[in-house]
């Protein structure tokens, strides 16, 4: 039988990349927090899955590499070896190798030689580190030259006598011969003596035996590997014939394991890795959708079917007296299609963590190679954005993070001398704000160096030599095409293709980028993206006859107030006491002129936090908590104070989303 395995490739690659991403996160945790059983199991499983499915699909190199990696991991998992910083370093490199193997397989091209060398080095050292006992054997079987068709210098003769029932176990000698032929010059001679006459011939039995001759450089183990599947079901005689002429010096088989000077090896591994990071942009063309979202779609389609039935019935037995029913059915249809449209959009929503996640590794590798010490803080990564927006965010964000690492953050000595903590902080934060999503890249490094920018700008003739531009103008200059103040081109940035790309990419999404910089205290890049497609968790609250949505991320707590908890301060508004702390107090009904709860006694107080400030806000009631697909109010109507956007409720009603930042600001001003 022949089965076209190609149809499983898409699933395999999508699943494997995802598994490796998770494995990367696990490895980074392993490095940070040390080994724990569940973590090791999860890492092991990731490799095991790639091996199992990759092997079944015939990706030999992937299967072999992951098999060796799996063995090394097994040693660690069984506690026979511990996780040293070097081991986790190697495991991360191995992960990179596996990833590039997958990528090569996906593009149907063979891995290049340089990478093979790296792979072999990584594996052999890993095996050394992981388990001294098993290392020799495993290293030997991994460090062979990979299969190739060029004839080798050793002549091997194998007599192969399979068991008559070999076909029953799904084995096929022809396949085996094909594998051997890949090792060198191959010849098979069949011996027909065992064939019975036709009367006794059983087509499901194998009556043939073979004499196989092979000229190859592959070591014995590798040749015998080909028989791995059948060795219990055949008789094998392996003999090496005399090699013809002695190979001339220089073409002797490579030593089994080349132990590189460790520094050299380090550089090779990490150098390749940074190069790799740049090409890591493959975003799976498939997305993982929660069953909840799918269920909703199915429900909506069900509704549509009901709707169609109603309409068909109306069409078949129509009379003017049923006009009202028709109008109602059409309204229902309109609502259903709109819901369906929104649900389909929601399927495309991905959390920002998809982009943020990859920086953990980038920062870690950067610290290792540069000697800088950076603590990466990630927050708000659960905010969801449309898949296309997320994809286009990768490049700009990568540029900004690299810039901050390279130019912003100083070496530990410099930081210490400046009286700053040696470990720098790089913060990535995502938040919904005033009808858009904001992504902050904040470092506490040296800030923009305006003197240097000015000098470089004059040199590049971007500004006149005698001008004295203010900081705002100079800030603008750094977004000019090919502008860079870096003296040397580093691995990460300094190629001067940074900020103009960032700005262009964001502009193509209808967003913008701004910088706030303080010399010596760091810089913050603020990326603003339109929220039209964004989705958030919101709490709907009732005030008077109106309903508003408060984004859940701003809500600290909801309190049933007691008499006396709110106190008014003459001329300066009111405060609300939350466990001994006094927080500015506002009534939403009054702020928006909607009426509603007049006193603290009849409502609920929602404590909000935005921009580091807290506010206690009185509403009438808490209604429900929903996932909200935000519609821009500005695009459809006009900008309204205190309102960030709108959403359409299931029954077609428009509900406004509160701009908590503006509300909090109103109290401060």
């Amino acid at each position: 039988m022949s089965v076209d395995l190609k149809r499983f490739h898409a699933t395999f690659f999508a699943e494997s990349y995802k598994g490796l991403d998770r494995m990367e996160a696990d490895l980074l945790r392993l490095e940070r927090d040390g080994a724990d059983e569940e973590l090791l199991n999860s890492i092991f499983r990731a490799v095991h899955s790639v091996k199992g499915s990759g092997g079944s699909l015939g990706f030999r190199e992937i299967a072999e590499f992951s098999h060796e990696l799996e063995s090394a991991l097994d040693e660690i998992r069984k506690g026979r070896s511990s996780v040293t910083p070097r081991t986790s370093e190697l495991l991360l490199s191995a992960l990179d190798c596996l990833r590039s193997l997958l990528r090569d397989a996906e593009r149907e091209r063979p891995p290049d030689e340089a990478r093979r060398t790296v792979m072999r080095d990584v594996l052999s050292e890993l095996v050394d580190e992981a388990g001294p006992e098993t290392s020799r054997e495993a290293a030997e079987s991994t460090s062979h030259e990979p299969a190739r068709a060029a004839p080798g210098n050793r002549r091997i003769r194998i007599s192969f006598r399979p068991h008559p029932r070999i076909f029953y176990s799904g084995n096929d000698p022809l396949r085996l011969f094909r594998a051997l032929a890949e090792l060198g010059e191959f010849e098979a001679k069949a011996d027909l003596d065992g064939l019975p006459d036709l009367k006794h011939f059983d087509p499901e039995c194998c009556y043939l035996t073979w004499t196989l001759e092979l000229r190859t450089d592959a070591p014995r183990e590798q040749v015998l590997d080909a028989f791995e599947w059948v060795k219990d079901e055949c008789k094998l005689d392996y003999a090496e014939l005399d090699a013809p002429a002695a190979p001339e010096a220089g073409s002797a088989p490579l030593p089994q394991r080349r132990k590189l000077d460790r520094r050299q090896q380090d550089r090779r591994v990490s150098g390749r890795r940074t190069a790799d990071l740049g090409t890591q942009e493959q975003f799976a063309t498939s997305i993982h959708v929660s069953t909840e979202k799918v269920d909703k779609l199915v429900n909506l389609v069900g509704e549509l079917v009901i709707n169609r039935t109603i309409l068909r019935d109306l069409a078949e037995n129509f009379s003017t007296s049923r006009l009202e029913q028709l109008t109602a059915a059409l309204a229902l249809l309109e609502r259903n299609t709109r819901d369906l449209q929104e649900s389909v959009m929601a399927v495309r929503m991905l959390p920002v963590s998809f982009v943020f996640g990859r920086f953990t590794r980038l920062v870690r590798d950067f610290c290792q190679s540069s000697g800088k010490r950076v603590d990466l803080q990630i927050s708000g990564e659960q905010s969801e954005l449309d898949k296309t927006v997320i994809e286009k965010l990768v490049d700009p964000l990568t540029h900004l993070v690299r810039n901050a690492l390279d130019h912003g953050i100083e070496m530990p000595e410099v930081r210490r001398a400046a009286g700053k903590p040696e470990i720098a902080t790089l913060a990535l934060h995502a938040q919904h704000k005033g009808g858009s999503i904001e992504i902050l890249v904040r470092d506490d490094g040296q800030g923009l160096n305006f003197d240097k920018i000015r000098a470089r700008a004059i040199e590049r003739e971007l500004i006149a030599a005698d001008s004295e531009p203010d900081e705002a103008t100079l800030t603008e200059v750094i977004f000019a095409p090919s502008f860079s103040t870096s003296d040397s081109v580093s691995d990460l940035s300094g190629r001067g293709v940074g900020l103009d790309v960032v700005r262009r990419n964001l502009a193509s999404l209808g967003g913008n980028v701004e910088v706030v910089s303080r010399r010596g205290e760091g810089a913050t890049f603020v990326l603003r993206l339109p929220l039209t497609l964004a989705i958030l968790d919101g709490m709907s609250v009732g005030v008077g006859s109106e309903t508003y949505i408060i984004p859940l991320s701003f809500i600290l707590e909801c309190i049933q107030p007691e008499p006396g908890q709110a106190k008014s301060i003459s001329g300066r508004g009111a405060v609300f006491e939350v466990r001994g702390e006094y927080v500015p107090f506002i009534e939403l009904g009054r702020l928006l002129n909607t009426g509603g709860a007049a006193g603290v006694d009849s409502g609920i107080v929602v404590v909000l936090e935005a921009e580091g400030k807290k506010v206690a806000m009185l509403v009438d009631s808490l209604l429900s908590q929903d996932q909200v697909v935000i519609k821009s109010l500005e695009a459809n109507y006009r900008k309204v104070r205190y309102i960030a956007g709108a959403m359409i409720m299931g029954e077609g009603r428009v509900v406004l989303i509160l701009d908590v930042n503006a509300v909090v600001r109103s109290v401060r001003d």
């Binding site: 089965v3 395999f12 999860s42 095991h48 199992g52 499915s53």
Partner: protein
């Protein structure tokens, strides 16, 4: 035609097994975890179960034990997906009542051969 349940957390493996079996006419139900398999087993009978061993949550070995406690599955042949012929889980699984194993990676041919053989052994002979 016989109905076969495939249990594996790896979607690729599930897909391969399921289409290879469906191609030759078997009915297949898929489960992504031992837990899901048990829930399915409560409502659907199968003639054979193929399960992975190393899965998040309950393992394949746990699944064998749990399936044996379900009345409709107390004699159903169970095949595990093993690492290789030396996988220690093969012994464990046999001890728990599994009746065969398939090494990963497998070829569609070897998968079918093993499954056919076990079904024949169990239901025909």
């Amino acid at each position: 035609m016989a109905r076969i349940m495939i249990v594996d957390d790896v979607a690729t493996i599930r897909q391969i097994v399921s289409s290879v079996l469906k191609d030759v006419g078997y009915k297949v139900i898929e489960a992504a975890s031992a837990e899901e398999a048990l829930a399915l087993a409560e409502v659907k009978r199968s003639h054979l179960v193929v399960t992975d061993v190393n899965m998040p949550g309950k393992s394949g070995l746990d699944l064998i034990t749990a399936l044996r406690a379900i009345k409709t599955y107390d004699k159903t042949p169970i095949v595990i997906l093993a690492k290789d012929a030396n996988d220690e889980n093969i012994q464990k699984a046999q001890g728990l009542g599994a009746c065969g194993w398939i090494a990963k990676p497998f070829t569609p041919e070897s998968l079918l051969a093993t499954i056919n053989q076990i079904l024949v052994d169990h239901y025909v002979r």
